[in-house]
């Protein structure tokens, strides 16, 4: 390779490497802000303060959803299999909200340690399946999903 071209190639590689390390260090320093939500383990570790506006995310514990028959109030427990957080919300839940599924709730923790959500979003996973295949998978899966 021609020496001038080799020099330019080295400069190009240095530009890419320099940009990568700058962005990498920034992203590492800001990792807690880049995370969209806090898992319940952060609540248990005392990293979340009362009244602080944050998002909490986790799996809805099976059998934990309690709906108020007279209003849109709903309470459920989310877990990351290390700790649990109780969430209270008044409003319409997204269609994909279900027990055993992921959710992200925005709001804050009250004095009793209950997460008062102002918004609940459903998180779906990357697995797609036609309904008939899911049915033929048999009972264990369908009871697990419901």
């Amino acid at each position: 390779m021609h020496p001038i071209r080799r020099q330019r190639l080295i400069i190009v590689l240095l530009v890419v490497a320099g940009a990568a390390s700058a962005v990498g260090l920034t992203a590492y320093a800001m990792r807690s802000n880049i995370n969209l939500f806090h898992p319940p383990a952060d609540f248990a570790a005392g990293e979340v303060h009362v009244g602080q506006k944050i998002r909490a995310g986790g799996m809805v514990v099976k059998g934990s959803v309690q709906r108020d028959p007279n209003s849109l109030k709903v309470a459920f427990v989310i877990t990351d299999y290390k700790a649990n957080v109780t969430v209270e919300y008044t409003g319409i839940l997204p269609d994909l909200f279900a027990e055993g599924q992921g959710v992200v709730a925005a709001g804050s923790v009250d004095e009793k340690g209950v997460f008062q959500a102002t918004e609940v979003l459903a998180k779906h996973d990357e697995k797609y399946m036609p309904p008939e295949i899911k049915d033929t998978l048999g009972k264990p899966v369908s009871t697990a999903a419901n």
Binding site: I34, L36, P39, L96, K123, E126, Y128, M129, P130
Partner: protein, 249 residues
């Protein structure tokens, strides 16, 4: 290999060779996109949880994949134009930006439409969505930067450097769903590891992705060819070409 690489640097040779590919690319893209869209939107099974709303995957995933791959095409052209000062690479750098911007816009819009019924929101500032928005801004800033310079040599150089710096964003987009907690789900199609989709849904998706790639190649070639004619408009071969076209009609 090197003689091919050097020939590629000749706009005239590139124009002649690419003209032979155009009809084939157009036919393959049309067949793949029509087949994939009809199969995916009408005949592929519903998802057990999302129902029919998951079908937007047949536009969303191909648009996102080609928007990212297109950025790598543009940045590679930028690197080649900086190192070898190859004319055709300079034109590819310039012409890839609006196509990539359009695909990224399509990915953002379809993602937003998909997010409303599934997540329950049009928009969320999670790592994946935000990094794709950054990709859109990168494409737009390359278009703006090129137009901002009076001297097109300086414009090309500045755009090449910006496109190389922006390469950092591509692995961030790809791994954002694994590195950070996000609302966006992890990848269904993985480079390594099992695909979490049955073949009845996967086949039309792969056809659509292929169709989008071929369509991208076609759009880029058409754009580069018109750029070649514009930049070489004072040369003899372009004049001869235009005269022969005129004589035929």
């Amino acid at each position: 290999m090197w003689s091919f690489f050097h020939k590629l640097g000749s706009p005239r040779w590139f124009y002649q060779i690419s003209g032979k590919f155009l009809p084939w690319l157009a036919i393959i893209a049309a067949v793949a996109l029509v087949t994939g869209a009809v199969w995916g939107l009408l005949y592929a099974p519903q998802d057990f949880r999302q129902g029919n709303s998951f079908r937007i995957i047949y536009i969303h995933v191909p648009a996102s994949a080609v928007a990212m791959a297109g950025y790598m095409v543009m940045a590679s052209a930028g690197a080649i134009s900086l190192i070898w000062r190859m004319k055709v690479a300079e034109m590819v750098l310039k012409c890839a930006a609006p196509i990539g911007a359009a695909l990224t816009f399509l990915a953002l819009v379809t993602g937003s439409i998909w997010g409303r019924p599934t997540w329950g929101t049009w928009w969320v500032w999670d790592a994946r969505v935000t990094s794709v928005l950054v990709l859109f801004f990168l494409y737009m800033s390359i278009i703006a930067l090129y137009e901002a310079f009076e001297n097109k040599q300086a414009a090309t150089k500045a755009c090449a450097v910006l496109s190389l710096v922006g390469v950092v964003n591509i692995p961030i987009i790809y791994y954002s769903v694994n590195w950070w907690f996000s609302l966006h789900q992890p990848a269904t199609l993985k480079i390594v590891g099992e695909t979490t989709m049955p073949s009845s849904m996967l086949r039309p998706l792969l056809i659509m992705i292929f169709g989008f790639y071929v369509f991208y190649a076609l759009a880029l070639l058409l754009h580069v060819r018109s750029e070649i004619l514009y930049r070489e408009r004072t040369t003899q071969w372009v004049r001869d070409l235009l005269m022969s076209r005129k004589a035929r009609t």
